[in-house]
Symmetry: D2
Subunit: 299 residues, 4 copies
């Protein structure tokens, strides 16, 4: 039996809530993010002996998030995460790798009846979140962005049949069902010098378009079509991964009371739910599993 | 010491998840609601002896929600809650009172790049919820509607000062702060024969406009202004009540590192939070506290 | 149409998280509470004009919670809530009424293999919470205590039948089902000079005993039996109210595959759920609805 | 630019809620689990063409969970997950790999005042969850078990100092602080023929003992000590990984009001929080990262 040692380790400050207000003009811009900073490197001592002489305190990491936001603003989540990652990796010998996650929470300007879009009043627009995780390992910088909790539903245009009648099968085939899911998608960008906001808007647009227009024979097929469309349109993407729960809507059986139910009245179930997860990849791309750790539920 | 007896009681089925699809034209309409049905009446026996001969099973209440949705659709939450309340109170002698809550979850049509608003594909648009609670007591019908989780923020136009320096005061006065809250508002309608959707849209619009345009000396003042504006514009409202957490944003002190922070970089705190609750009422309206039970955190 | 005015209002600081460590001996005692302080009184000005000269800042209320914990510790939640309520009502002319809620979160000492109960290491013992709300209105002091999220289940000893076969009924009668609920109970104490911890422990014990031993013909019957037992044993209780969701467990139908299922394999459902709410009262007690506002879902 | 293809994919039914009652004696045993079944294999067709002829419906996977529970009970989560994994991998050619997660929710028998431990009445004992993920790839079976949400706190015996004063550092050194965390631990067992319940109980015991008795110079040091103790005592463990949030407790500054605070009154913060994650490994063990996918936040 071998000796015992410290394996992979990382530490940092999670969920720093930061709101940045750009007041350079009377029309304020706000950027609302949640930042998680994690560092990987020469930190064995604190684990083994409690010697903290190399430990950049998690409190310091938090202060750094705020201080860098003050010096240069936030901007796109990818840009801010890259700045943080570079600050830590380039500035501290003991930091071999930094993993910086930035979640962007959306707000829209309140448009008032009399004044149109307001200068400084905003409404939180959705529970959807734009995400990025930047991992910088020495000079290597990997950017995995995405979105979570984009909840979508189709009231028709979805079938599911042709599955085998193996033991314990009772599901009835259908050629018309509600298809609903909460899309979590993550994609790896090639390069770090992109127009992040433009790329994000376009990819999100493609995912929505494809979900809406694709006639679905399975949620898997819809997922693949969404990924394929994104990769086709965006050569700067190496790969896209999805985790898509099948949020089941069951047709309510009203026949005991002599009522037909021609796909009109549905029960929206919570649990259990189908869970479809897959990657759509581009051939000849190097895998980079380490960058994906902790990002989706699979490698 | 007096005897022991059964006091107020109600029972029912909570959180029936119902999605109704109107497929009468190729352009589907979806209505996504969560219904809680509660009945009050001659139900002492089941408590005292376990005799259930008057108990309309909660499972039956759930089935009724789906069956009524099939026969006549859902429509405005107020209309659906009224139909349910009338069904139970008018149809069953033992039911003296019904309390029907309907939460409406918003969806917006996906607008695709090529096709515009989609016929049958939708996106969940926000965590905001439109609410109604209908209480029918015999012939008496009370409708309390509202909204919850309308999250709004102003990056300026908010002051807070002039509070007394009582013991344990350390808060610093400010004439420029972020004001953010998650509005829960409930209003009681006079009458039951209204254009519910139009009234709701207008009241919501007024709340947003007032929040945006009101220069705030306290969250209390903003709250009152919102309520006053709604009552002024809508004579069909008897009263409006608010529960508005003060979602604190604290200016980050960067001075230890020689950085000014002119209201640009903020820390958004979770707990504790201020909590401001108040009613704005119309004089000479009869109080109807029973209808408000369980709706806001105060009477 | 009457004029518009300010109705009932209250404000304060919600969810102050406070951990008190009694270090007077090497065997530390910890008390972990969440305190919500609310004040009611002469606060119209801040609503109407933004004049805050009477407003005890919510930040000050929070500081007061910590300062009073330092001066005298926390002790029983009821005792701490009373101290806070008296501090505010007795100390400030503009405060006519105080509502102080204290939630107590349980910890148990870690008992180590070698040393037994540990001096200063603890484990959070459950999601169950002990609660109190003290309302002091002038000299009047009302204490409503209770517990929430006490999740219990009986694998037999529960029946449900004899309900009427009204329209939309499909539920099958049963004389053996799983009964599960998450008990929220609130009781009003008579008087303020009680051994709070002893009373709480005894009432909780009675609720558990009754749930376990009572043969149930309906959840309503079980609820009433629990309340009756508590009131019978505790003359210092004026009333007890319950909110008890029926956490449905459905027997899985395995007959399509030739398998019997004699009450062994169950599906635990999330939503919808039955919701049973009732008060068990003592005759000749004055109602005190104002004190109950916001505490249970009904009056 | 290469072609686009389907990468790693898995699908199944998530969060099947199952309660099994062993009624073989009047003293019932209950087992409450949440099962997530996922299959990996020859499922490209459903993604690429919508041909579902190889797709074992997620509904069927759910039925299988209940049917296998009926035939042989549940037992230890590891045993049940292994049975499920073998059923799918051995029974279906298109299934190359199965990932079965079982969460065990704890209940304890209600002990009544008069009757002692009850035959059939139970109380949910904690939010802590025992977990297992079994991955079977052909003949290869990997078992990663653990626990989540084990919340612990030490009121003394924790220091943190000696960290470098890098830019943006403001944290003050301390030799006496509260240390609190919510332990998520996962360990990989060597072999599949173990007494799972005994191993789990012992490892959990060791983690608690070590947390309690270890004098901490950093949360990292405590984490490592916990892992080292578990591996030392349990040769059947290949590795253990931890994710431990530092649930900060901040000493409240009461000095503005002339009050000392000798580590007695603390504010328990929510966000941000420190996050310490590390693996403690045994030398010469083969890494098996694929089995860890989606289990902890890092590889």
């Amino acid at each position: 039996m071998g000796g015992i040692s410290l394996g992979y380790n990382q530490y940092g400050k999670a969920e720093c809530r930061l709101v940045h207000v750009d007041r350079s003009t009377p029309t304020h811009q706000i950027t609302d993010v949640t930042v998680t900073s994690q560092l990987i490197g020469d930190f064995a001592d604190t684990h083994l002996t409690g010697d903290n002489s190399k430990v950049i305190a998690t409190d310091t990491q938090k202060n750094t998030v705020y201080a860098l936001a003050r010096q240069g603003g936030v901007g796109a989540p990818e840009a801010f995460a890259l700045r943080l990652a570079r600050y830590f990796v380039d500035g501290f010998e003991q930091v071999h790798r930094a993993r910086q996650e930035v979640l962007l929470h959306g707000w829209e300007r309140i448009s008032t009846s009399t004044g149109g879009p307001h200068d400084h009043a905003f409404r939180r627009d959705s529970s959807e979140t734009r995400t990025t995780v930047v991992t910088k390992h020495g000079a290597d910088e990997l950017v995995i962005s995405g979105l979570s909790d984009l909840v979508v539903l189709k009231s028709t245009g979805s079938e599911f049949h042709g599955f085998p009648d193996v033991p314990y099968t009772s599901l009835v085939e259908t050629n018309d069902r509600i298809l609903a899911t909460s899309v979590t998608a993550r994609w790896r960008y090639l390069g770090t010098d992109l127009d992040w906001d433009k790329a994000f808007a376009s990819i999100r647009r493609i995912l929505l378009d494809t979900f809406a227009d694709h006639h679905s024979l399975s949620l898997q097929q819809t997922l693949y079509a969404m990924g394929e469309a994104a990769l086709t349109a965006h050569p700067e993407l190496a790969e896209i991964r999805f985790s898509m729960p099948n949020k089941h809507h069951f047709l309510v059986d009203l026949s005991p009371w002599g009522l037909e139910n021609p796909n009109e009245v549905w029960y929206a179930a919570d649990r259990p739910y189908g869970l479809i997860e897959a990657a759509v990849t581009r051939d000849d791309m190097p895998a980079d599993e380490a960058a994906w750790a902790g990002i989706t539920g699979f490698c």
